[in-house]
């Protein structure tokens, strides 16, 4: 019930090392800058608040409600976090949420953690912040503005994060772009409705109970302009890239290979099933059999060794 509420946490094994490393570097850069901003901007009071909010988003993901056709609405939380504590602190909170989900609950991989931080933390927050600031200007003081703003920013943050996720999978050769992108987009357009509705409902509730908490909404964040532009650029880039990539399923991999994004390890993926060749053994069939036997022996030996060792240990501790 708790695990993978949003099917967007990429596990290990699905990203090529090159893609994973590049996304880790982006994540470290942006989170590092966010740390600096948060240290400089906001008071020490924010530390417990960020910790409890992270726990709260995690717990909030347990609360779901049926949308339609077997899907249920869940919370990713980037949009709510952004509106409550501003973009920089929200990036840190989302980073911690995604990090703990990966490390403790295996919801998303560790090598893939950089990608997941980029998708749900950075892209989710930047897109939400861009949407919220823009819509606030457009909608002004209209009473339904908060609901609409919450809905659209929640929906868009999920949708864009899903597009980014699909692109990364396609770039890694784990899923063909012409299937992954429309599929992820379709599913998350629906899941996003849940996120949008919960975000909107939550904001309306908070406004009724504690108006003062949303006053931060009016505050301009230092460096907020950069996030606004970042959100805009990310949204446009994903909107253009995704349809392009999905019409050229193999084009994406071709580009990636040309640019050397995909490391050499990815290469053999496109060759014939590997031949088990041991150096020094000329006969291929023999080598294959040998390799199989050696492998089986290693597994067997390890298991027997461990079992033997444990039995001895149990006996000596029992004596």
């Amino acid at each position: 019930m708790l695990f993978s509420p949003v099917p967007m946490h990429i596990p290990d094994g699905f990203l090529s090392v090159g893609v994973a490393v590049v996304l880790w570097l982006i994540a470290i850069g942006v989170v590092g800058y966010a740390l600096k901003r948060v240290n400089a901007d906001v008071g020490e009071r924010q530390v417990p608040l960020m910790g409890v909010l992270a726990a709260c988003i995690f717990a909030g993901q347990m609360l779901n409600f049926p949308v339609t056709g077997g899907t249920s609405g869940h919370l990713m939380g980037a949009a709510i976090a952004t509106i409550l504590i501003g973009p920089w602190a929200a990036i840190l909170v989302m980073t911690c949420v995604v990090g703990v989900q990966a490390l403790i609950f295996q919801d998303g991989g560790l090598l893939a953690l950089g990608a997941n931080i980029v998708n749900m933390g950075i892209i989710g927050v930047a897109v939400a912040y861009f949407t919220q600031r823009t819509l606030r200007k457009l909608l002004g003081k209209w009473s339904g503005g908060l609901f609409v703003n919450g809905f659209i920013s929640g929906w868009l943050s999920i949708f864009m994060a899903a597009l980014a996720c699909a692109l990364q999978l396609a770039l890694s050769g784990s899923s063909p772009a012409n299937i992954a992108i429309p599929a992820m987009a379709g599913i998350h357009a629906l899941i996003g409705v849940g996120e949008g509705l919960i975000t909107a409902g939550t904001l309306v509730f908070i406004k009724a109970a504690r108006r003062d908490l949303l006053e931060t909404e009016q505050r301009q964040y230092v460096g907020g302009k950069a996030v606004w532009i970042g959100g805009l650029v990310i949204a446009i880039a994903l909107a253009i890239l995704s349809p392009l990539a999905s019409t050229h399923p193999d084009g994406l991999e071709w580009v990636a290979e040309q640019r050397g994004f995909l490391d050499r390890a990815q290469g053999p993926l496109f060759e014939i099933i590997p031949d088990y060749v041991l150096p020094g053994v000329s006969n291929e069939t023999l080598a294959t059999i040998l390799a199989g036997i050696i492998g089986a022996l290693i597994v067997f030996g390890a298991a027997v060794g461990v079992a033997y060792w444990r039995r001895n240990r149990a006996q000596s501790s029992g004596a």
């Binding site: 608040l49 409890v52 295996q106």
Partner: protein
């Protein structure tokens, strides 16, 4: 002793439990990186990695069934890789009936199996790590890996209140369910009404959770201030790694590096 169902830690007296958390975290990360780096065709390397993971599972005394069940939780994501079965060009293995113009290729199967296998190996090790290491030790290990102090502080607080808030969330859910049993709520509206209405109810629950979180953060802040907190996150220095633990770390890293290199040289 009270153990929260969310906490993956399972206390045992195994060697794996006894390892320094820094060694465990370091080796787990190295294992995952090695698995990722191993070229898809290098089955012998995968067999060795599989043997390592099996041996660690047995050594951890967590129970093979437990580790496997938890590792399977990550499996649904493999769905996204399913299309590779049919879209990878190569030797045709099986063509579906004419109505479905799909061809299963040997290469496609190999690619899909490689992805799923790598994923499973990685999750398996991560499950053992958190099953055998209590969270405070993991936090210490993260700090040893130079996670920024502010992030470590947020993660520490998050973990502490995760259970408190998760219990609150469950109570809210239970309250919603017990009221949904009636056909009408207090104001005579149909329960389970429009989508917007359901969103409002759930939004109210989440909002409730957030409001309590804000109040709690204020009280925690006061409790921190009362004990002299000055905005800087402080912690005791970490105890040094013992020689034996260094050796385990060194040997483990050497073995994994060797495997990665072998895979790269022989099959890359």
């Amino acid at each position: 002793m009270y153990t929260h169902s969310l906490d993956p830690y399972r206390p045992r007296a195994s060697v794996v439990h006894g390892l320094d958390p820094r060694v465990k975290l370091g080796l787990t990360l190295a294992f995952i990186v090695t698995t990722a780096l191993t070229p898809p065709g290098a089955w012998p390397i995968f067999i060795v990695l599989c043997a390592l993971s099996l041996a660690t599972t047995l050594l951890s005394e967590l129970g093979v069934g437990y580790v496997l069940t938890r590792a399977l939780l990550a499996l649904p994501f493999a769905l996204v890789a399913l299309p590779t079965l049919f879209t990878t060009t190569g030797m045709p293995l099986l063509t579906l009936p004419a109505s479905l113009p799909l061809t299963l290729t040997v290469e496609g199967v190999a690619r899909f199996a490689g992805i799923a296998f790598k994923s499973w190996l990685s999750v398996q090790m991560a499950v053992i790590l958190v099953g055998s290491t209590p969270f405070p030790d993991l936090l210490l290990a993260m700090r040893a890996l130079k996670i920024p102090r502010l992030l470590a502080a947020i993660v520490g607080l998050m973990w502490r209140y995760l259970f408190v808030l998760a219990d609150e969330a469950l109570r809210l859910l239970r309250a919603r369910e017990s009221r949904s049993a009636a056909a009408h709520d207090g104001r005579g509206r149909r329960v389970g009404g429009s989508l917007i209405w359901r969103a409002r109810v759930t939004g109210g629950m989440v909002g409730n959770l957030f409001l309590r979180a804000f109040d709690r953060a204020d009280r925690i802040y006061a409790a921190m201030l009362a004990r002299g907190y000055d905005g800087e996150v402080r912690a005791l220095p970490r105890p040094p790694l013992r020689a034996g633990q260094w050796m385990v770390l060194g040997m483990g890293l050497a073995l994994l590096t060797f495997l990665a290199l072998a895979g790269f040289l022989l099959w890359g």
